[in-house]
Amino acid sequence: MLKFTGAILVIVVCGLLGNDIARGYAQRPRLLRSLQTALQFLQTEINYGVTPLLAALKKVAALTDPQLAAFFLLVRDQLLLSQSLSFREAWERGLKDLGRYSVLGPRELELLLPLGGILGCSDREDQVKHLLLTCQQLKEAEMRERERSGPNERLWRYLGFLLGVMLILTFY
């Protein structure tokens, strides 16, 4: 009975792990899409609203995916609380944090990294150019992820359970 329960547990845990990885594949393109929308909104706030950056980050956070909202709010809060932190430092800390709790990988985060040295540091025209460029790069990353995510998602959804079954067959 104990062996049977253990076997079921192994299969369930492996299945859940596989599902989790599969969910990551499915979520990444969606998050990349949301990121583009958020940056487009930021661009509008900068270009047409001439909204100061910290206020613009708050507005963007209110309209975007909760994971991205936490990132934008973290950057803003760090700058408001610290009188010595530069925007670049706050942005980099925010990205590090985003990498920990979201499905975005180092490659996607690297695309956002240069914005830390650019946002707020130049005129509107320049800001818009850089945001458009980043959006374009994110779009390409999203397309790549979409191509990869379909087969990978299905693969990991089954692979987790199969791995559990294989472990049972091997060790029991």
Binding site: P52, L53, L54, Q83, S84, F87, G120, C121, R124
Partner: protein, 339 residues
């Protein structure tokens, strides 16, 4: 009140909130300035930051370099050298990480901090069709400490009042840079707006066009300086356009503005005069001749628009009232300088 709020001069009892300025400076510079004694701050007029050159303070009696420990030195060796990173960080802090939202100010070469402290900027100018489009690579900053000195206008106000009609004469305040024009203008506006019971003068409606946010030190449109209960302020608005807007919409009895100098200012003043509004303004200069040589002001002066022209100078200290002229007769109304 902030721990860094200091008595200004210790005489007039008005405070200068240094914290407003310090939070906008890069940390190394902030730490140096925090070590400066309180009594020294009362004499500071400007803080000068120049990239790769010594950090400087400009005081009433001259300038001095600052060492890394906040000590003063009359020569450069041993002074703290301002770095490129200091300049970048300071500009970022001053603009709230939003340089793009100060494009027009940068184009004109200045920013205004909370409290009305004006920061002059120099660096690499980018041109477009022969006109300044923006300023990049900011390598020089001149932070001018704005001070509110209630009562500083007491010496000048009797010359401006037209008591018979309970109004003021069209008046122009003239001085070289750092002569105290804006400080005097601010106090005159306050007194005209509140009224002066001791002189039998009732308050008037004053419209202020504060193009550089120095007079009223507005934050989100709300004045931080006391400009009186009958004062309406157009903050950050071009002078000529602002004067016309006020005349059309706010029925002012007096229009006050800082630093006349453009051709269109003269035109707007003409419009205000014909609308029956009194004008109180300032201009850079040091004598009637120097004013007449400025093309933008020559036209106004030739027209005899200003009934009172007040000259400020330094003979008895900053803000000395050196001369008052009747603009119509060109006669002097002041026997000796006043402070």
């Amino acid at each position: 009140m902030s721990a860094l709020a200091l008595l200004d001069g210790g005489v007039r009892g008005k405070v200068l909130d240094l914290e407003q300025i310090l939070v906008t400076l890069a940390v190394p510079i902030r730490n140096i300035l925090k070590k400066i004694p309180r009594d020294t701050w009362a004499k500071v007029e400007e803080i000068r930051l120049r990239q790769n050159r010594p950090l400087m303070l400009v005081l009433a009696q001259g300038d001095c370099f600052l060492g890394p420990q906040g000590g003063m030195a009359s020569s450069a060796p041993g002074a703290y050298i301002v770095t490129g990173d200091d300049m970048t960080r300071t500009l970022e802090l001053m603009s709230g990480c939003s340089i793009y939202s100060f494009a027009e100010e940068l184009r004109q070469g200045f920013l205004t901090l909370e409290g009305g402290h004006r920061v002059g900027l120099t660096g690499r100018v980018v041109l477009e069709k022969g006109r300044v489009r923006l300023l990049k690579h900011v390598t020089g900053m001149n932070i001018r400490l704005a001070r509110e000195l209630p009562g500083v206008g007491d010496k000048a106000i009797p010359y401006l009042l037209d008591k018979k009609r309970n109004t003021i004469f069209h008046s122009l305040i003239v001085s070289p840079p750092l002569g105290g024009k804006t400080t005097l203008l601010r106090d005159l506006i306050r007194q005209i707006s509140w009224g002066i019971p001791s002189l039998g003068f009732s308050g008037l409606k004053v419209g202020v066009v504060d193009e550089r946010s120095e007079i009223a030190a507005c934050s989100a449109g709300v004045p931080q300086a006391d400009l009186g209960p009958r004062t309406d302020i157009l903050d950050g608005c071009p002078k000529a356009e602002g004067m016309m807007m006020l005349v059309r919409s706010m029925s002012p009895q007096v229009i006050a503005t800082d630093e006349l100098g453009h051709g269109e200012d003269a035109e707007a003043i003409g419009e205000a005069l014909h609308a029956g509004v009194k004008v109180l303004a300032t201009a850079h200069g040091h004598s009637l001749d120097s004013l007449r040589r400025r093309p933008s002001l020559a036209h106004i002066l030739a027209g005899g628009i200003f009934q009172r022209i007040l000259f400020l100078g330094f003979s008895l200290g900053v803000g000395t009232l050196e001369a008052v002229y009747d603009g119509e007769t060109n006669t002097s109304l002041l026997a000796n300088p006043l402070r």
